[in-house]
């Protein structure tokens, strides 16, 4: 007597498929999906009773050019076949060009096949004798091979092995198997995509972490390098200062000039180190803003008070043309540096007797602070270059050689103001006609200020302040 029954009710087929779909498509992990594919039909749908014993999923590995067993149902027959096999199942790889192999034919023709003779599906990896031994151990009579496809791609082959003859397979069984194979195609594709996606996500996560580490390393390095640079520069600067100021011996006019220029250049070098540190901090996002409500007029007065001695020395007038304007939401120390930089620039590029004036304007959401001078001005085409790193415009606001600038001040200022959601613009009517630099800062309570409050870089363990501008060195 056969140890199986025949024919499930056709009406059950759709219900059964739906059940399988639910089981398989609910899982995304690749390993879990492929195992469920091989087990669910036998256990959940009771196909064991119908004589089905082993379900094997094989998938094509295009890169290696082989068809490989991916999963195998967990049944006693499968275990027996495995135990009898000369080569462990998971090591069996069938070349995609093995034309005589029935699995490969199924794959290429995209059509189901069946066999009573296992050498058909194990050639050329196992000898006919070895394949027959496996089949005997398992007690399988027939294996049906179904291509697993998705759209126009064939992913692999499903093997349904049973202890009955092909003639005993009902139409309903065949329907279910066909439907099941389609679901498997979808499930395998999904699981593959999901696995690729999570692998990519993991890789990206890793790369991102590494970048953060590198950024920190770079920052630490710049920090250490600037410390190491400053130590000898401090010595050079200080000893030159001694020579120039302690007057332990009378210096000749020439010597005084030589040492003076050496001193000046050291100051420039120190400024450059400070500016590079600032840029490193700004660009790695380690500059935090400590926002507060500030009266722009008051802030400008504080800056002007600081620069008056230098302006007097250069025989320049500094005027503040006051006007009542709204308070702005800013990091006071940082905008202080920006305003010092702008006024300092104007002092640097204006001849004795000239004037630097600061004016205010308001057009919500911004207050505008403008620094206007009667200095060298600039050509139109140079105006955009101003805010670039190391931009050097002849005779102009970023020139480094004789002016002693670093070529970085305006870039840093613009970066800081941009962090505040404001902007710096430059305007000049032309060479020798002076120029105007205008900073816009968000008015407290405006939507721009609220956005700033939300988005401004917050103080963290990593955040750093700005290096201060040396006033003696404008």
């Amino acid at each position: 007597m056969a140890d199986y029954v025949t024919t499930p009710k056709t009406s059950d087929t759709i219900k059964s498929l739906w059940k399988l779909e639910k089981i398989i498509l609910n899982t995304l992990d690749f390993k879990e999906v492929v195992q469920k594919i091989c087990d669910s039909m036998l256990s959940e749908l009771g196909y064991l009773k119908l004589g089905y014993r082993i379900i094997v999923l094989t998938l094509a590995d295009e890169k290696k050019g082989v068809l490989r067993r991916i999963s195998l149902s967990q049944t006693p027959e499968a275990a027996k076949a495995q135990a009898a096999s000369a080569i462990p199942f998971h090591d069996i790889e069938i070349p995609l060009n093995a034309q005589k192999n029935l699995l490969i034919q199924t794959l290429h023709e995209r059509k189901p096949h069946s066999t009573h003779y296992w050498p058909d599906i194990f050639t050329p990896v196992l000898t006919p004798e070895q394949a027959i031994a496996n089949q005997k151990a398992s007690g399988i009579k027939t294996s049906m091979l179904y291509p697993v496809t998705i759209q126009d791609k064939t992913l692999g082959v499903l093997i349904f092995s049973m202890v009955k003859n092909l003639e005993e397979v009902s139409e309903a069984e065949e329907d279910l198997i066909r439907g099941f194979t389609d679901v498997v195609g979808l499930a395998v594709q999904n699981a593959k995509l999901y696995t690729t996606l999570s692998e990519t996500t993991q890789k990206l996560d890793k790369a991102n972490k590494r970048l953060q580490e590198l950024d920190k390393l770079k920052d630490d390095f710049v920090s250490m390098a600037s410390h190491e640079l400053r130590t000898p520069m401090t010595a050079i600067k200080s000893y030159l200062w001694m020579a120039l100021n302690k007057k332990k011996a009378e210096l000749s006019e020439d010597l005084n000039r030589y040492l003076g220029r050496a001193y000046h250049s050291t100051e420039r070098l120190i400024s450059l180190v400070n500016d590079m540190l600032n840029i490193s901090r700004i660009e790695s996002g380690r500059i935090a803003l400590k926002l507060g409500e500030v009266d722009p007029v008051e802030l400008v007065h504080e800056v002007v008070e600081e620069v008056i001695p230098k302006a007097t020395e250069l025989q320049l007038n500094v005027k503040v043309i006051e006007r009542k304007v709204s308070k702005v939401l800013i990091d006071k120390d940082k905008i202080h540096e920006v305003v010092i930089n702008l006024i300092g620039n104007s002092l640097k590029f204006t001849k004795p007797g000239g004037t630097v004036s600061v004016t205010f304007d308001e057009k919500p959401p911004f207050v505008y602070i403008s620094v206007t001078d009667t200095g060298v001005g600039m050509a139109k085409e140079d105006m955009q270059k101003l805010f670039k790193k190391f931009s050097m415009i002849e005779h102009s606001y970023t020139a480094a050689s004789t002016s002693g600038g670093t070529g970085l001040g305006l870039y840093i200022s613009k970066s800081i103001v941009t962090l505040h959601k404001g902007d710096i613009t430059a305007y000049s009517p032309g060479l020798e006609k002076g120029s105007t630099f205008t900073v816009s800062l968000p008015i407290t309570g405006t939507s721009t200020a609220l956005e700033l409050q939300k988005e401004a870089p917050k103080v963290t363990e990593d955040s750093k302040g700005l290096e201060k501008k040396r006033l003696g060195y404008i």
Partner: protein, 137 residues
């Protein structure tokens, strides 16, 4: 009047010798040592009106010196401790303030002349505090 006593803890020889020269030229009494360990020994003995302390030094860093003093203050007290460094790192700066440093001076940003002005300021400030304390007594 007694000479004010200043302690300089600085490992870089050129910087140390230069500061020695300008400080002594001003008529102060100066002790100078080349690392944090020696610095801590001197500080423990107490009696300085002002201490100028570098951060990055061999054997013991300035921060470690500050920590050690905070945990175990010297029996004979000293004047203010000012960090004199070329490090400009906010976390270190904040920690130094947390450990009772009076100020944080970046060496490359000042001239020897400005250092002397600062020293005068610190000494005057702590002298005034002393006075108020004595008057209160």
């Amino acid at each position: 009047m007694d000479k004010k006593r200043i302690l300089l803890v600085e490992d870089d020889q050129y910087t140390r010798e230069l500061y020695q020269e300008v400080i002594k030229d001003e008529g102060y009494f100066l002790d100078s040592v080349t690392n944090g360990e020696e610095g801590l020994e001197k500080i423990k003995k107490g009696g300085y009106n002002l201490i100028l302390l570098d951060i990055m030094m061999p054997k013991m860093s300035g921060l470690e010196v500050l920590r050690s003093i905070k945990n175990e203050p010297p029996k004979i007290p000293n004047g203010p401790i000012v960090i004199l460094t070329n490090l400009t790192n906010d976390p270190i700066l904040n920690e130094a303030y947390g450990l009772n440093a009076r100020d944080f001076v970046v060496k490359s940003d000042i001239t020897p002349g400005e250092l002397i002005e600062k020293i005068k300021g610190y000494l005057e400030e702590s002298g005034n505090k002393e006075k108020t304390k004595q008057e209160q007594k």
